[in-house]
């Protein structure tokens, strides 16, 4: 348990450093590109790199403090009052006592798909988000299973890593997308390629930059995968330890898998959810390879093993 927490914090720092390095390199590449294309001296590349470096530092620190709000905004989650749904409040209150963490704030996404996720930077500032669909369709035991799963994400500090990834890795995806497009459509008329001093160095840097930009969407996806798959299994089993009723979550996953689609989710936030929130219709070829969630059948199988057959439907 405590190893996981330390690991998650270390990984968060690593992601931040990686992000700063990436943005700085992109700045350098842009600078060199400008030098190379317009034949000016190398001053631009250094200047842009420094600006990019400072921006990246500001962005990664603010992502630590504000990414939960960004995530809530992206998914269009709204606060849920105790009066509107006392049931989920009672359950969350009890289970967070059992988990030994403070009671998280509760938000809701008005969507009929059944899903849930957590965000925030530590257990004291955590937010638990349900879709309307999951609140309406699960019975008490199933919903308790889902809540315990989410509470164990909070307890393990998965929420910090997951939330920071949404913002930083998301930003990398966006930047590389823009760069990629502008490289394809914006290239062409270079003015004086001969006159740029240290031509080989800038060429190498340019190639590295282009490679980085080309690869970064894949790297971004791989990072999301690396953090989410095993974490789901771990949260399933820790969750079972909190609720003392593995079959609850197993039955919930069975129900959820019928319709876990959330309209406001996208590839940047998908890894936060308890079940894959993105429709299964699209992107056929690499689907299995780039799944952010382990196969539901396998998760259910493991939970049912834990339950010793008690309460399994």
């Amino acid at each position: 348990m405590y190893e996981n927490i330390a690991q998650n914090k270390a990984k968060t720092v690593a992601i931040m450093i990686g992000f700063i390095a990436f943005i700085t390199l992109v700045g350098l590449a842009i600078g060199y590109y400008i030098d190379w294309r317009y034949g000016v001296s190398n001053n631009y590349s250094i200047l842009i790199m420094v600006i990019a470096f400072i921006l990246a530092i500001i962005m990664s620190f603010s992502s630590y403090y504000y990414s939960d709000r960004i995530v809530l905004g992206l998914t269009k989650a709204m606060p849920l009052s105790r009066a509107e749904n006392p049931r989920v409040y009672y359950m969350t209150e009890g289970l967070s006592i059992a988990a030994g963490i403070p009671m998280p704030k509760i938000y809701v996404v008005r969507d009929t798909g059944m899903n849930a996720f957590t965000t925030g930077r530590n257990p004291q500032k955590s937010i638990l988000v349900f879709t309307q669909g999951i609140l309406d369709n699960l019975n008490d035991e199933e919903l308790k299973g889902v809540i315990s799963h989410e509470l164990s994400h909070i307890k393990n500090y998965d929420i910090l890593l997951g939330t920071v990834i949404v913002v930083l890795v998301g930003m990398v995806s966006i930047i590389s997308n823009i760069m990629f497009r502008s490289m394809i459509f914006g290239g062409g008329r270079r003015r004086s390629s001969k006159s740029s001093g240290g031509g080989i160095l800038s060429l190498i840097l340019l190639i590295v930059g282009i490679l980085l930009i080309l690869l970064s969407p894949i790297i971004a996806t791989l990072i999301r995968l690396a953090v989410s798959r095993n974490r789901e299994y771990l949260a399933d089993s820790t969750g079972a330890l909190i609720s003392r009723y593995p079959a609850g979550l197993a039955n919930a996953l069975k129900k959820i898998s019928v319709n876990s689609e959330v309209q406001t989710a996208n590839s940047a936030t998908a890894h936060l959810f308890i079940a894959n929130p993105i429709g299964s219709k699209s992107k056929a070829i690499f689907k299995g390879l780039f799944n952010t969630h382990p196969p539901t059948e396998e998760r259910i199988r493991r939970l049912e093993n834990m339950s010793l057959g008690i309460g399994v439907k």
Binding site: P86, G94, I97, A98, G100, R244
Partner: protein, 189 residues
């Protein structure tokens, strides 16, 4: 110049230092576990207070409709008093089990009074008490987990050596002692 004596002294010094740090580590981990136990006990306590606060309210409400159930009501009040006066975990656990039992029979009795069951105030109190009851169960689970961790630490090697020196004693579990919860369920027709 390094003589054999100084080397020996340095080695002994290093070993002593390592041992001191090890003892400090063990001591600190035992203290932090004990604090966790105390904190988790506090979690139970919070829930128990909530229940104590609701009971007089409940008793008043029931009195209004069911005057003849004096005995059942008195049981609830007595159990509450026992709970408030309890000094240690064992007494507290016993009192809480009594309260839970007394409340259960009160709810059973209330089945005979349709007007009481229809009372909005009463249904709201019932709902709150049920919520607290399950919170107590969760808090008890967390507390018992912590007690187990703490007891294991001070009863296994090397913790047991230092537990005695530093005066750490095993904590009591918060146990269910209700006969009905333990024994086999009897069904009568």
């Amino acid at each position: 110049m390094l003589t054999g004596v100084t080397i020996l002294l340095v080695v002994i010094g290093a070993i002593v230092l390592i041992m001191i740090f090890a003892v400090i580590g063990i001591y600190n981990s035992m203290v932090s576990l004990r604090n966790k136990v105390n904190n988790s006990w506090h979690q139970i306590d919070v829930q128990l207070r909530k229940r104590y606060d609701l009971i007089p309210n409940l008793v008043e409400t029931v009195k209004g409709y069911a005057k003849h159930e004096r005995e059942t009501l008195q049981n609830v009040i007595n159990a509450r008093k026992l709970g408030i006066d309890a000094k240690d975990v064992k007494d507290q656990a016993k009192a809480e089990n009594m309260i839970s039992g007394a409340l259960k029979s009160l709810f059973a009795v209330s089945e005979n009074y349709p007007n009481l069951k229809a009372d909005q105030h009463f249904t709201k109190l019932m709902e709150q008490l049920n919520g607290i009851e399950s919170n107590i169960a969760f808090a008890r689970q967390f507390y018992n987990d912590m007690v187990m961790q703490f007891n294991t630490r001070i009863q296994t090697f090397p913790g047991n050596m230092f537990a005695r020196i530093f005066n750490f004693t095993a904590k009591d579990y918060f146990e269910i002692e209700e006969a009905t919860a333990r024994g086999p369920v009897k069904v009568k027709f």
